[in-house]
Symmetry: C2
Subunit: 371 residues, 2 copies
Amino acid sequence: MAEKNAKADKNAKTKLEGLGEDIVGEIGKGQNPSFVATTRTRSNIVYDKKEGYLRLGKSEEERSFLNVAQSKKFMQTMAIAAKCHKFLKEGLHTSIRGLFYQLKFSLGEDVDESLFEEQSESNPLIEDLEVSLGVKREDLNLNANRKGVLAGSMKVRDTFGGERVEIDCSKMGRAGWPIPSDVDNEIEFVDVKAKYVLVVEKDALWQRLNEDQFWKQENIILITPGGQASRGTRRIIRKLADKGLPVYVFTDSDAWGWYIYWTIKTGSINLAYIGSSVATPEARFIGVTMSDLDKYPFLNKLTIAASDVDIKRAQEMLNYEWIKGHKEWVVELERMVKSKKKLEQDALQGPRLTFVGEYIKDKVKNKDVLP
Amino acid sequence: MAEKNAKADKNAKTKLEGLGEDIVGEIGKGQNPSFVATTRTRSNIVYDKKEGYLRLGKSEEERSFLNVAQSKKFMQTMAIAAKCHKFLKEGLHTSIRGLFYQLKFSLGEDVDESLFEEQSESNPLIEDLEVSLGVKREDLNLNANRKGVLAGSMKVRDTFGGERVEIDCSKMGRAGWPIPSDVDNEIEFVDVKAKYVLVVEKDALWQRLNEDQFWKQENIILITPGGQASRGTRRIIRKLADKGLPVYVFTDSDAWGWYIYWTIKTGSINLAYIGSSVATPEARFIGVTMSDLDKYPFLNKLTIAASDVDIKRAQEMLNYEWIKGHKEWVVELERMVKSKKKLEQDALQGPRLTFVGEYIKDKVKNKDVLP
């Protein structure tokens, strides 16, 4: 299978080999072997105002072997690089837990006995490698947790396990196509004939819209991250935006819903190191909003009490530089703080189950979205 | 779409109509309208030794309108029954949260103002209806949360949203087919050409085996519940067992893994009221086990510390009547308690990623499973 690896895989493999050659070269010359990784500490995470997402700053760290404080980490990172190189050669994938057990298994053989005790030791070093090589862990054949489902007018060409399959995302019935961890390597999205992407926070609402064949009626791609979006889901949203599709996000009007939206749009602290790959600053917030209470009066009897977390979060958001610049968001958040009420996307089913789709159509038609 | 509803749907609709007619009849005769539901309290949940699953006992409760303590609940239940009947007529589905909002929306119209405040009021009444009519909530067009993925030599014929699709579960690539909430109505499983069903606790391990096309090599159906099994996943395992397929469950050797196994096998307290539909007493436990430490010596360096929860749970299980009868389980549990160590299924990837499949093959070949 190794020969079949797609570009990014080959790229990652070549980069790992380059890293190895550099280090062997340094040792050969009697130098102190080392490599450089961009610092991932909080102080080096910046919100890029121009691009609209969280990314790493310019601060770099050198990890060298002949440094007492770094020597162990250096060796651990090399052990991880060697394992990933093996996975790429084999054309096989595993999780970061699987990698950890491979490292533990090798203790006393090719890896030093005391090298790995806990997975918490290997995880940050994988990120070191990702940053230093400019690849994502998925490119190193390390799967992340997956979550999220998609339906719509597009096809998936997937080369996997030695076979090629083509999946028609418009023919997946009630189930949809589950978004994998890796949406870049040996997978292609073709015949994407859609007007926009709709990201629906809850699977229950996705199922509602899927049953109405809303994606077909409206000619869109319908995605649910099933709560907070996984790496794979964030990545596929980015890829669909790259094809020129507008992205609308539809969540509850509460702290958790906003968090889901802003993570899709601007990325997150944890993934700032791959920010540009997983953030979609073009995304717009379609609802539900507190101002929907004026547009759809029936919603007033369907609000529920905002929790302390919701209110605290709204107050925090009001202090963010980039929220202050969006007066629509200021109005929203102040209304929640004042009324101590919130609104769930599920409430749109009150008058009739099919109202959810009518609402989305209205919002898109009237360009009634938040930035 | 209503005309297209499959048998069970029509059945549920007819049953709801029967309930309504009975009540109207009673009112017409000047009687106190009422209906009967099997009691779902803990005291009426029994472990059926002969059948091997948790089910309700014989205790019944009558809910009547002209009883001050029951009057509100009676009216609430009728309001729920009316909504479900409407969903079935429309041929549309929603979640129990969607149902709650429909009830709340109708307040002051056809439903009394004070009838529903919280979803916690409607949830148990849905179960009342399920029990009293002998249907599952899925038959009432109420979707439950879904989770779980399947791959293997079988096809799904799904009639949904007014269209019929056929999905080949052997052509789903890296993704698999996501198991829906309802696997009974307007859905069929055909060409099931498999030797057995393998249920793998963690999605990461499912992905590992899927990549090896293990389901194809071995000619099996490969399922992951992704942790604790959803109603839909438990139900599809039951349905596959009904087709005569042996079911093997593969989890971690720890409290959570055992809980997943026993829930699939014997059902659970919460779902005892639909016990026979979601329990698979024929299921066998394939591993990982503490005795694997003798059979696969390399695993000894890959154990991790058992948590207090793991040890406490093992001690509790040792007191269960039905565990005492299985000496293999007694040996397992005592070993965990004594050694304070546990073993994860991920550890099987230690020597090589493909070892997971070799392990399963060994176990099946040698019939090395626990009851």
